[in-house]
């Protein structure tokens, strides 16, 4: 056998592994599906970001409300006798039925507000 034949035999078998075309078609199919996958990923990422932001805002709101409540409680505690004195003086001329009605209305409004907040927070 001469070198020409040897070279032909040596390089004649040079080809891609069997199943090459199937592998290319798989890559092509993956590429065709990629834009849809991208949109889904983008949507998931945005939703996760929004959730995180809302959770952070909810925490901030809770901290603010608790802070204001604590300050108000401390003030009432500190000036309890002055507040009692003031309330007694200012409410003396008011009718007791009106006072009870007003108190119940204020408590009801506060309760309604709390329930609404709890329902919207679900």
């Amino acid at each position: 056998m001469n070198s020409e034949d040897r070279l032909r035999r040596l390089f004649g078998s040079l080809d891609a592994r069997p199943g090459f075309e199937e592998r290319v078609m798989q890559r092509v199919a993956a590429l065709a599906a990629a834009p849809r996958q991208d949109l889904r990923t983008q949507f998931e990422r945005r939703r996760a970001l929004l959730r995180r932001r809302l959770r952070r805002e909810a925490w901030m709101n809770s901290i603010t409300v608790l802070g204001i409540g604590a300050c108000a409680g401390a003030l009432v505690w500190r000036y309890a006798s002055e507040i009692q004195q003031f309330a007694m003086n200012s409410l003396q001329p008011v009718d007791s039925n009106l006072l009870i009605g007003g108190t119940i209305a204020a408590l009801g409004a506060a309760l309604w507000f709390v329930i609404r907040r709890l329902q919207s927070g679900r």
């Binding site: 070198s3 040596l10 040079l14």
Partner: protein
């Protein structure tokens, strides 16, 4: 080339998918051979060949027929192989033991006989362009003009590379005592 004409007709008819299905078997060996002749590594050549066909699938609907289909495909293949070579050079250093192992165990054409192994070593020792010309010419007994189109060189230059490569191989094999040279 008649196959190319049919593929181009399908593209112009807006049937790029069908054109691609015809193009892949027609060009698989040529694209793989060209990538292999540049990279000298079967695994890397197959990766590049796959990448080339994926690029062709994306670009085929935009092929305007100004260049020959084969010229366009060979240019894409050469660019992809050169990019792969650059990437490999950037990530690997020859002093790295893993690279030396890779060079030693590089996926070569399977050689069944000792004379073939000797010939293979001599081909590997040829200058790049001569080795590339020999690989592409003998892969499918191609015309020199087609090898020239694949390498992006004038046909006369390829003829010179082939002539010099054959002479070097004959001399090397003769001195190695291989019969039938």
């Amino acid at each position: 080339m008649p196959a190319d004409d049919a593929i181009i007709a399908l593209i112009q008819d807006g049937r790029a998918g069908e054109a691609f299905e015809r193009l892949m078997p027609a060009y698989r060996r040529r694209v793989f051979g060209l990538a292999y002749s540049l990279l000298r590594d079967r695994g890397a050549a197959e990766d590049v060949a796959q990448e080339v066909f994926v690029k062709l699938w994306q670009a085929l609907p935009r092929f305007d027929g100004r260049a020959q289909l084969s010229t366009w495909i060979y240019a894409i293949t050469r660019n992809a192989a050169i990019s792969a070579m650059r990437k490999r050079r950037r990530t690997l250093s020859m002093s790295d033991p893993a690279v030396q192992d890779e060079v030693e165990s590089r996926g070569v054409v399977p050689v069944a006989e000792p004379e073939d192994a000797a010939l293979w070593r001599q081909v590997e020792a040829l200058p790049d362009k001569q080795r590339q010309a020999i690989t592409l010419y003998y892969q499918e007994q191609r015309q020199v003009e087609e090898v020239a189109a694949m390498m992006g060189l004038p046909a006369n230059t390829v003829k010179t590379h082939l002539h010099r490569a054959r002479a070097s191989l004959a001399a090397a094999l003769r001195s190695a005592g291989v019969e039938g040279v």
